[in-house]
């Protein structure tokens, strides 16, 4: 469905990605794990067109996305939940959701989707007229996910959704990802919480300093000795 071929990204003189290849199949949860600065976020940002690609290609259902501006990528059904939630603090919860549907014009379907976001996250419904900045961290994360769902995405990319959340909320977030999978969403998940990510993922990639070092089904990588030592804190 989504194919990333030999992706390179440079920031000034610094190389962030040196040749990444990813394949994401429909209805899969694919995860990217790796240490800080390994290039996980850069991969997502490059796919979304937020940073320039110095080389490589992004194909979506055969269409070349490599040089498409972000707004057109979103319009074709790829949404991203940015790292750090980044809700619009001065806008109400509902206004945030309406902006999520910015590329759509089917008013009826949008109203329906807002309702279904509220069904998934009842807390947001209670606070629909509150400014997003007044929400707790966990609620803001729900809003960020809900806002991305308003794109009606074929592929949802999530950048560190559990970062900075209390353990109980982290569990909530992964429950949500499971719900999304059951609804048929395709998800590309970037996580520092490697164990949880691998447990949930159909397929996983391990990034180190801008390169892929390992890939395979999530369960297989959970058993992998190198992964256990480097990312799961399992001592030998």
């Amino acid at each position: 469905m989504l194919e990333v071929i030999d992706l390179h990204v440079n920031y000034g003189g610094i190389t962030a990605l040196r040749g990444i290849n990813l394949t994401i199949e429909e209805n899969q949860i694919v995860t990217l794990i790796g240490a800080n600065g390994a290039g996980k976020s850069s991969t997502l940002r490059a796919i979304m067109g937020l940073v320039a690609k110095s080389n490589g290609k992004v194909l979506y259902k055969g269409e070349d996305f490599t040089n498409l501006p972000t707004k057109d990528i979103v319009a074709r059904g790829i949404a991203m939940v940015p790292e750090g939630r980044r809700v619009f603090a001065d806008l109400t919860v509902e206004e945030n959701l309406i902006l999520g549907a910015y590329t759509r014009s089917d008013q009826k379907a949008i109203a329906n989707d807002i309702k279904s976001v509220y069904d998934t996250f009842p807390r947001l419904k209670e606070r629909s007229w509150q400014k997003a900045g007044t929400l707790s961290g966990g609620e803001q994360q729900m809003l960020a996910v809900g806002r991305a769902l308003m794109v009606n995405p074929k592929i949802l990319m999530m950048d560190e959704p559990s970062l900075g959340l209390a353990p109980l909320l982290v569990k909530d977030i992964f429950d949500i990802i499971n719900i999304l999978r059951e609804r048929g969403n395709t998800i590309l998940l970037v996580e520092q919480n490697a164990r949880k990510a691998l447990e949930i993922a159909d397929y996983a990639y391990v990034l180190e300093t801008g390169q892929l070092v390992l890939e395979g089904p999530g369960k297989t990588l959970l058993e992998d000795q190198r992964v256990q030592e480097a990312y799961l804190g399992v001592a030998r």
Binding site: M48, A75, A79, P82, R86, F88, I98, L99, Y102, T103
Partner: protein, 298 residues
Amino acid sequence: MGDVSIFLQHLTNGISLGSLYALIAIGYTMVYGILRLINFAHGDIFMLGVYLTFYGVIYTPLPWWLVFILAPLLTGFIGILLEKVAYKPLRGSARITILISAIGASFLLQNLGIVIFGGRPRAFPVPQLLNHVIKLGGVSINVVTFIIPAVSILLLIGLTYFTTKTKTGLAMRALSKDYETASLMGIDINRIISITFFMGSFLAAIGGILWGSRYPQLMPLMGAMPGLKSFIAAVVGGIGNITGAVIGGFILGLGEIMLVAFLPRLSGYRDAFAFVLLIIILLVKPSGLMGNKVTEKV
């Protein structure tokens, strides 16, 4: 009784001038909100709006009221063009670079004005409807003094509706807070920037027409002082904040008129009032009356 009516007369004058400053200040504040740029050419856009109206009324067979609508629309498109030519190519450069480009654009427009319109002052063709004196309880007031705040308030209501109730208005507010996340919503940033410049320039031109109806002398440099004062109004109110710009405009307009009215010995310092106010605000509350404390995003 006499004192009260004189005070009321000054009050209406102050409100009238204040709403003009407010209309122009909104353009500064909207552009700043989106681009973090002080559009120093904004006062000259105001001047262009007045001249376009002048030429439209004098040299075309169109009725004046139609010109009063078309000229601001045209000025709006000039605003879009200004952004495309002077600011867009520099997007992503240091802010000081774009600021210097803004100053350059201002000089360019002023001097183009001198070349094209001539340096000789012209008289603004004020329609009879706007320009007659009525008597209200012993006070003689020109109707334009009432029309100015009335038009301004209508435009402000429209603008408030636009920014709070429409999708484009929401996108504008989102963009002013977080570019990258706004683009993740699929917002076309260039389009929103163009709309922002259009609206700011449109309002400045309306302000220009009202200004011309009240002070009917046209000069290519006429935008400089109102532009500067409206910029101060925007800063006093808290730049980036539309309500703040309106409040700042009224404070400036009222203050200026009252200073001249009640301290006639200081009337020579009329223009200095705005700058003194600016200095005080920058010392006491640099973020402006309605401004949020600026926190740099990490």
